[in-house]
């Protein structure tokens, strides 16, 4: 055992929610910690820090990624989008509004990650099938809702007609 060596730092430059940011950071800093602590974008949440729960999902150049599994320096030169860019309390995005209508959240902790994945799905597929929606939501853990409100919300945001009330 030896005392850890002094950490290496690096300058990182990326666009976050449309804004150019430049910071000098430790290279071992995760993208999630960078967003939350260095940029105060605390809407991105950490649930497991091993890539399973999906709460920390953000978009990297438009693609959903686990921000707990990326180092911030890996996002250098790229475009990062977080939940803060989707809408505001007074001007929710249609997807966010659908979550209100269909009770798609309870404690709300896992929700930002789910919104980012669903946002990417709906952007790429104007008319997703139920299976496509399930596949995307299958990458997220929610402990409160039992998922059905989330599923209904994403379907509604895609303009699909409501399911039979009991199915």
């Amino acid at each position: 055992m030896s005392i850890p060596k002094p950490v290496t730092t690096a300058e990182v430059r990326m666009r976050v929610n449309g804004v150019e940011v430049v910071r000098t950071i430790e290279v071992r800093r995760t993208l999630a910690d960078f967003l939350r602590e260095d940029l105060s974008l605390t809407g991105t949440h950490l649930g497991c820090e091993h890539g399973v729960c999906g709460a920390c999902t953000v978009l990297l150049d438009g693609q959903p990624v686990r921000s707990c599994l990326l180092f911030a320096v890996q996002a250098g030169g790229h475009e990062v989008t977080t939940v803060e860019a989707l809408g505001t309390p007074d001007a929710l995005s249609p997807l966010q509004q659908a979550f209100v209508e269909h009770h798609g959240l309870q404690c709300g902790f896992c929700t930002p990650g789910i919104l980012m994945s669903a946002h990417a799905l709906l952007r790429d597929h104007a008319h997703p099938t139920d299976e496509q929606i399930r596949e995307v939501l299958g990458g997220h853990l929610c402990r409160c809702t039992g998922y059905q409100g989330i599923f209904d919300a994403v379907r509604a945001a895609a303009g699909l007609s409501p399911r039979h009330p009991n199915r």
């Binding site: 850890p4 430790e26 497991c48």
Partner: protein, 790 residues
């Protein structure tokens, strides 16, 4: 009267904030100069610490503080509080902030490091030099009660910390003379609540004013405040505990205190800088309280028609290494076991047993899933043995609607008599059977069988004790803007209190629900309370909210009467105004009334009882209120791989008057998902040395959308006569019977006799292979006695 919100599917007021990343969970609190903490935890289940040297860690750059047990002030070296004593809990051992020379479970805190960030703090953990002398661990619950077992606590001379019996009628005589007696050995193993937000604490100390502000993911901020004030020798007013947004609770986030809840404030005061600790997922698996492990030896005596003559269970309850929360889970299991049935003779005896595993305290269900599993397994055994339809056996034993209040003769977890207040169990039951299509089930099952498909239908009934005391309170204030604010100290972990409580206030004051703002979980906003547990917030806090809002209404009428020169009786409230009934042009805005109620000059009449449109009220229920429910489930089993798909899940539930059906249905849907985890996916596995083998979401499987069906929900409304709103709790309704229902469905599908929970694909496959092998030799050996371990 204005719009009535009570009973409506009002959209949640908290959603826009949470959906846009503007929540304030504990890890979102980032004060300037913040330091970060990490803990060195025991890698051994039972060991002596023979050497502990933190000097290298303390000297590392960026490290602000390293604490071991020896470094703590005397008050923090003592065991943490004994929360809920019981006369039979002879050995009330509680956990330490930091282990004093001996560790008793994997994950027990040994040292505490504070550094400039979490990365540096974790580096420093690796520089701590610690040596252990491992001792033989007490892991297996049955071995723990043997006379030759090693001891979790050496000074006790036993691992049994409590033994408690409750008896109703004369069970011995009933068993001795009954025509039929059936016995089962039933086992439930450990699981974890696994809220997606882990635990966390931030402490901010203001040395000049000696004020301590703590952000905590707790379900019980007031009791954390009360305890810390004593421990840190501060006036209660100088300690403020805030749990603004909490990312799921489910029980284990209520503990006064977890070690970190003591260490973080202590470190902040010692350093004069804010300190944060956020649990990581691995810590959450090993060091957040767990639940469910019990082994029941249960028996039932019935007559030839399947009517229950007596029930008895003797069980072992795994308490883990310490028992701060007392006997609550075991008492709930032993008393809620009786469920909806008339049981003239009943006996429950349990031993609470220390093992070298994580502490056990209530997790959603809190003993009810165990009790329900035992009772419903016994009922189905009776049906099977006597050849009576399983629904019919239940019908013959239900407490009938005219028999309420129904005294079970038992003492519940709140030390009050366990008396069911109201209900219509047959109505709940028949509605569930109708929804699932029980009547033509045999034909549907047979039809599927001809296609080579294996289907099963399960049913299960439970009664959930909810809304226990001692009390909650609320203060309602109408400000001079006409906006209404209500503060209660119960915390919110996703249950929608910001909305359901606002509905109650809006109805009482005739205002728009959007104009009511609710504050929960902040001891600085409301100073008295107990906490969010046992499905009690809607019942206990909800009624306190209603009483406070009614008091403000009465005062508004009094003040407005003077302004309008009318009698209070002639006034009504609607649309944010006070009207003279029948003369709508004689009115005054609630905002003006609020201003008039707090004049700058003049006098305040004594009958106003003080200034302002404001009132605080408390609600203290005499005892719990009891919600019944029935679940029915249709599953399909893939015999090749042991997979089970849930095709349908029906819940019929009676929680009295419903405040918000949207929120209620959400609680049930989410509860069922958790119950399915308990039944088939989630199991904490400790090996023979007490090592926790399941420490990631790759080993411990939470149900995903692929596993959870859309729950079909039906409601029966039997108001509770115990409280003004007529409400009952619903928080655990979705979870409680799912293991029992799942077992029932598998038995129906496969002809098994399930006696253990949770199962898994691999465990079910093992059972199927055993079944096949035994059927090769004996036609019905599947109904062999007891635990089905191979």
């Amino acid at each position: 009267m204005g719009t009535r919100y009570f009973g409506e599917r009002v959209r949640r007021r908290e959603d826009p904030r949470l959906l846009t990343g503007r929540g304030t969970y504990v890890d979102d609190v980032q004060p300037p100069t913040l330091l970060h903490a990490a803990l060195l935890r025991s890698p051994h289940a039972r060991a002596r610490i023979t050497r502990l040297d933190v000097s290298r860690a303390a000297a590392m750059p960026g490290v602000a503080l390293v604490l071991t047990h020896a470094d703590l002030p005397p008050a923090l070296q003592e065991p943490l509080p004994k929360l809920i004593p019981h006369r039979t809990l002879i050995h009330h051992k509680t956990q330490y902030a930091l282990a004093p020379g001996q560790v008793r479970h994997v994950g027990e805190p040994v040292a505490f490091v504070v550094a400039t960030n979490r990365y540096v703090a974790e580096d420093a953990l690796e520089a701590i030099e610690v040596e252990y002398e491992p001792l033989q661990a007490v892991v297996d619950l049955e071995a723990a009660v043997q006379p030759d077992s090693p001891l979790v606590h050496d000074d006790m001379g036993t691992n049994v910390c409590a033994e408690y019996t409750q008896r109703v009628g004369d069970p011995d005589a009933a068993f001795a003379t009954a025509p039929h007696v059936f016995r089962e050995r039933l086992r439930m193993d450990r699981g974890t609540a696994s809220s997606i937000e882990t635990r966390g604490v931030v402490a901010i100390w203001e040395p000049k004013t000696r004020e301590l502000v703590i952000h905590d993911s707790t379900q019980a901020p007031i009791w954390i405040r009360n305890y810390l004030a004593v421990l840190l020798d501060l006036p209660q007013n100088n300690v403020r505990v805030i749990a603004l947004d909490v990312g799921g609770g489910f029980g284990p986030k209520i503990m006064m205190c977890y070690p970190e809840e003591v260490l973080v404030p202590h470190a902040a005061m010692r350093l004069g800088r804010p300190v944060k600790w956020i649990e990581d997922r691995r810590e959450n698996f090993m060091a957040t309280n767990q639940e469910r492990e019990q082994i029941h030896d249960a028996e039932i005596a019935v007559d030839d028609e399947g009517r229950i003559l007596a029930v008895r269970t003797r069980f072992l309850h795994d308490a883990g290494a310490y028992i701060p929360y007392g006997l609550i889970v075991a008492i709930v299991a032993s008393t809620q076991l009786v469920g909806p049935y008339k049981i003239p003779n009943y006996e429950c005896t349990f031993k609470a047993v220390f093992t070298n595993k994580m502490i056990v305290s209530p997790y959603r269900g809190a003993g009810r899933p165990h009790g329900c599993f035992v009772m419903e397994r016994l009922i189905e055994r009776v049906a099977q043995e006597l050849g009576i339809d399983r629904a019919e056996v239940r019908r013959r034993n239900f407490i009938q609607p005219h028999e309420f209040p129904y005294d079970t003769g038992l003492i519940f977890q709140d030390n009050a008599p366990l008396v069911y207040d109201s209900g219509d169990y047959p109505a709940v039951f028949e509605k569930a059977l109708e929804m699932v299509g029980y009547a033509d089930w045999p034909a549907r099952k047979a039809a599927a069988a001809t296609e080579g498909r294996t289907l099963g239908l399960g049913i299960g009934f439970y009664v959930e004790g909810t809304g226990i005391g001692p009390y909650e309170g609320c203060r309602v204030t109408v400000e001079p803007t006409g906006k209404v604010f209500a503060a209660t100290s119960v915390g919110t972990q996703g249950q929608g209190h910001f909305t359901s409580f606002a509905q109650i206030v809006a109805d009482a004051l005739g205002v728009d629900v959007q104009d009511v703002t609710i504050t929960t979980g902040d001891s600085g906003a409301f100073s008295w309370g107990t906490g969010t547990f046992a499905s009690r917030a809607a019942v206990v806090a909800g009624n306190a909210v209603a009483l406070a809002a009614q008091a403000v209404r009465a005062k508004a009428l009094m003040v407005a009467a003077k302004m309008l020169e009318a009698r209070p009786d002639d006034l009504e409230l609607a649309g944010g105004r006070v009207f003279v009934r029948g003369t709508p042009d004689r009115s005054v805005a609630l905002a003006e009334v609020a201003t008039a109620a707090n004049p700058l000059r003049g006098t305040i009449p004594p009958e106003w009882e003080g200034p302002g449109l404001e009132a605080s009220r408390y609600y203290a229920p005499p005892r719990g209120t009891f919600s019944p429910g029935c679940h029915a489930m249709i599953v399909e089993v893939d015999r090749e791989i042991g997979a089970v798909q849930v095709h349908r899940h029906v819940v019929v539930h009676d929680c009295g008057k419903i405040i918000n059906p949207l929120i209620l249905d959400g609680q049930i849907q989410g509860g069922v998902a958790q119950g399915l985890g308990n039944a088939f996916y989630e199991k904490l596995v400790y090996d023979a040395d007490g090592q926790l083998l399941t420490q990631t979401y790759m080993d411990y499987l939470l149900p995903t959308i692929a596993e959870v069906p859309k729950v079909e929900i039906g409601h029966v409304e039997t108001p509770s006569p115990l409280n003004p709103l007529g409400v009952k709790g619903a928080g655990e309704a979705g979870t409680i019977p799912v293991p029992a229902v799942f077992a029932s469905a598998l038995d129906d599908a496969l002809g098994t006799r399930i006696t253990e929970m949770p199962l898994s694909h691999s465990r079910l496959l093992e059972m199927l292979l055993d079944l096949e092998a035994s059927r090769g030799g004996h036609a019905d050996a599947a109904s062999g006695d007891g635990g089905a371990s191979p």
